[in-house]
Amino acid sequence: MSKLKLGAPVPDFEIDTYDAVAGDFGKVSLADLKSEGKWTILFFYPADFTFV
């Protein structure tokens, strides 16, 4: 299981993305979102081409 704890910091991450609005590939970085003062919601799901 996860070693993350509620109320504790999570490690920064950077992940490749497909951005449908831009119609292009990109990257999202937690460090960037934090520096922009944004809340982040990570929404994991098992697989594309299935229900989410």
Binding site: M1, S2, K3, L4, K5, L6, G7, A8, P9, V10, P11, D12, F13, I15, D16, T17, Y18, D19, A20, V21, F25, G26, V28, L30, L33, K34, G37, K38, W39, T40, I41, L42, F43, F44, Y45, P46, A47, D48, F49, F51, V52
Partner: protein, 131 residues
């Protein structure tokens, strides 16, 4: 909504593109679709299933300081309720400004009844909620 939502599966960004362009339900997707083909991020969040190589239905709310404020993980065959996710996010946002208050289970949005724990309330939560 006031938060950056990132959807993540262990598919690549190329498969995300193919899915988004084929599936009518995804025509209006506004969120970046994150690719985690190595499962690294899924492992960090404890949702990686090594038997299948897939991620369970985990939802995590992180505040602007990078602190984990909320987590929920559903098994494969149980969908999530977006209204409940919105409720949790709004409550976290509200409590980040009003740390001495508490949002009870029926709290939905700013203006709804909150509770401020005190000695007076011990054994009197019903009265406090209904006053």
């Amino acid at each position: 909504m006031g938060a950056e939502v990132i959807t993540v599966s262990t598919d690549t960004q190329f498969v995300h593109l193919a899915w988004q362009q084929n599936e009518g339900e995804l025509a209006n997707v506004k969120y970046p679709m994150g690719a985690d083909p190595t499962g690294k991020l899924s492992r960090t969040y404890g949702v990686y299933d090594k038997n299948t190589g897939l991620a369970l239905r985990g939802t995590f709310i992180i505040n602007p300081e990078g602190t984990l404020m909320n987590s929920e993980v559903n098994f494969y065959n149980m969908g999530r309720n977006i209204d409940e996710l919105m409720r949790k996010f709004k409550a976290n946002l509200y409590l980040s400004k009003k740390a001495d208050e508490g949002c009870p289970s029926k709290w939905k949005d700013e203006g709804d009844k909150t509770l401020a724990p005190s000695a007076k309330m011990v054994g009197k939560v019903h009265e406090a909620l209904n006053e």
